[in-house]
Amino acid sequence: MSKGIERPDEVYEALIELHRDLDDASSRRIDARLILLLAAEIGNADTLKRLIAAAREEADAGRGASSPTHGR
């Protein structure tokens, strides 16, 4: 499944650095751009849908609803 992230601390630092000095709206826009770039790199639609469902899990769990497309 997930390959994991190489040099995780370095990548994490780069992610935080990406947002330095941005206001919240800009931050969210940049995140959306990054998500689309990452999605294009992944390419495979089934994989992407599985990841989208996994990301949503927490929000749905918080509302007491279960995710309809539980891919795992």
Partner: protein
């Protein structure tokens, strides 16, 4: 068990108003004491001055990493520290009310020492003082440095109960901590990053059945919005560390009733405990640009400072002492040229950068400085339960390990194929060889040739570990492999089947006899 009673050490007068000493260590903390012991073991006379007459106040550094324990073992002080301390390898990370994951810092067996031993700094210092005394180090309590003249031979002005004393020294080793007087007297910049969040340390005396693990909470129910750390020390003392935030008032937060109410929330209303030490602190990550200034060297917090997450302060200081001791001894004995000492900065400078980098990243994760940073942190934490990749992002402290001296001028680059582990510059790995541990047989007084059935080399003590499958595995060794190990147990060179000339060349390079 009563409150800790610190020892009062006896002041001894130098007996003259002007004296000469070859090596003067400034500061009798763990780093200065370790260095003095190391030099004494190598037959070097050393004087150590300290401004007061006792050990550290409060527990301060408590987590002693495997590499420090191995160094303490070489110095002959590991036993009292391990016996008195609390051995641990594992920990747990919590987010809000749930366990995110557990970790093991030493999943391998066959090591003499664990990942960590927790022991209050004052106990460690007591053990080191006893050892330094036994080895004949001249420990001068109540000797406060007030002046340093470096125009010719280093000359120290020292305030003592008998008045001012002048010490002419060949070498000055500044181990006098974050507020280094030597650094101040030399007017050196100490640059880096200041973190604004305040933290509370409370050492608590209590009987508790919590396991001997490092427990770390992000945003726990008992301390919403902050982080919390629980760690066991000797004598039923527990270290509790709570993030207070940027706006916390240090005077208010230090008040016992305030501290007790925070601890009640964490430990529950029925837990009986007693405060042993309280401190409210902020921290910095910073360093001197150079650790050698002519005949003055800086070690430990005097040279570099890190955040407490990762136990990289005390442990990196012990590694500094380990690195400088053998080099200074060789130079003083005329067995190596003086520029061998430049490799102290070349090796420990990058080590300090690495420690600062890790401790800065941990701090940024624990105390996010922007909304976006907080979002990523909470996302990583919320994914970490189900997704292994996210566990690798969660950073509650990257705990101290031995620095690898990559690109060291003393190392001979590999010419043969080897696994990455134990590349030149690495600290040697332990293993059982026959009935004995390997590390105590490596380095120390001299270089060692660690052989795996390979030929002996003239003039270098050697150990053959071919019979140990664990050692063969850790060193990626085949029959004929050899490692040249430095006196500080770091790898200088390795070969599949070395010639005598290759070993001699590597030894010359490792002692700066060729450049």
């Amino acid at each position: 068990m009563g409150r800790y009673q610190p020892p009062i050490y006896v002041y001894r007068s130098l007996g003259a108003s002007r004296v000469g000493r070859r090596v003067v260590v400034v500061g009798a903390g763990p780093v200065g004491l370790a260095l003095a012991i190391d030099l004494r073991l190598r037959g070097i006379d050393v004087a150590l001055i300290d401004e007061d007459d006792t050990v550290s106040t409060g527990s301060r550094a408590i987590c002693w990493a495997k590499r420090s324990l191995e160094i303490f073992d070489r110095l002959g002080v590991a036993r009292p520290i391990v016996e008195r301390g609390i051995t641990w390898n594992t920990g747990k990370v919590f987010h809000r009310d749930r366990l995110v994951y557990g970790f093991n810092l030493l999943p391998e067996t066959d090591h003499a020492f664990p990942a960590f031993v927790n022991l209050q700094q004052y106990h460690v210092e007591e053990a080191l003082v006893a050892r330094a005394d036994a080895l004949g180090a001249e420990v001068l309590w109540n000797h406060r440095l007030t002046g340093l003249d470096l125009r010719g031979q280093p000359t120290l002005t020292v305030d003592t109960p008998d008045g001012e004393v002048t010490i002419e020294a060949d070498w000055v080793l500044a181990c006098d901590g974050a507020k280094s007087q030597v650094r101040r007297l030399m007017g050196l910049d100490f640059r880096g990053q200041v973190f604004e969040d305040r933290f509370l340390i409370a050492d608590v005396h209590m009987q508790a059945e919590f396991p001997t693990e490092r427990w770390f909470w992000f945003d726990p129910p008992f301390h919403p919005g902050g982080s919390a750390l629980l760690h066991r020390q000797a004598d039923d003392i527990w270290r509790i560390d709570l993030q207070l935030g940027r706006d916390a008032d240090p005077v208010e937060e230090r008040k016992p009733e305030r501290v007790v109410s925070r601890l009640r929330a964490m430990l529950g209303p029925d837990r009986r405990f007693e405060l042993a030490w309280v401190s409210v602190y902020t921290f910095q990550c910073r360093r001197l640009e150079r650790f050698r200034h002519g005949r003055v060297f800086f070690l430990g917090d005097a040279a570099h400072q890190v955040s407490p997450f990762g136990a990289r302060g005390g442990n990196s200081g012990i590694q500094d002492a380990d690195n400088l001791g053998w080099k200074l001894a060789l130079v003083l004995k005329g067995a190596a040229p003086e520029h061998l000492l430049d490799s102290y900065d070349a090796e420990r400078g990058p080590a300090a950068d690495e420690n600062i980098l890790h401790s800065t990243r941990s701090t940024d994760f624990i105390t996010p400085r922007s909304e976006a940073s907080r979002r990523f942190r909470d996302a990583a934490l919320s994914l970490a339960g189900d997704h292994g990749f996210a566990r690798a992002l969660v950073n509650s402290g990257r705990l101290s390990v031995a620095s690898v001296y990559r690109n060291s001028p003393l190392s001979t680059p590999d010419v043969d194929a080897f696994p990455e582990r134990l590349c030149p510059g690495s600290a040697a790995a332990d293993a059982r060889v026959g009935d004995e541990w390997l590390l105590p047989r490596l380095g120390g007084d001299d270089f060692t040739l660690l052989r795996f059935g390979s030929e002996d080399s003239e003039g270098i003590p050697s150990v053959d570990a071919l019979g140990s499958s664990v050692a063969r595995d850790r060193y990626g060794a085949e029959s004929g492999t050899a490692y040249l190990i430095r006196p500080d147990q770091h790898v200088a060179a390795r070969w599949r089947r070395p010639t005598r000339e290759q070993v001699a060349d590597a030894l010359a390079r490792a002692t700066a006899r060729v450049s």
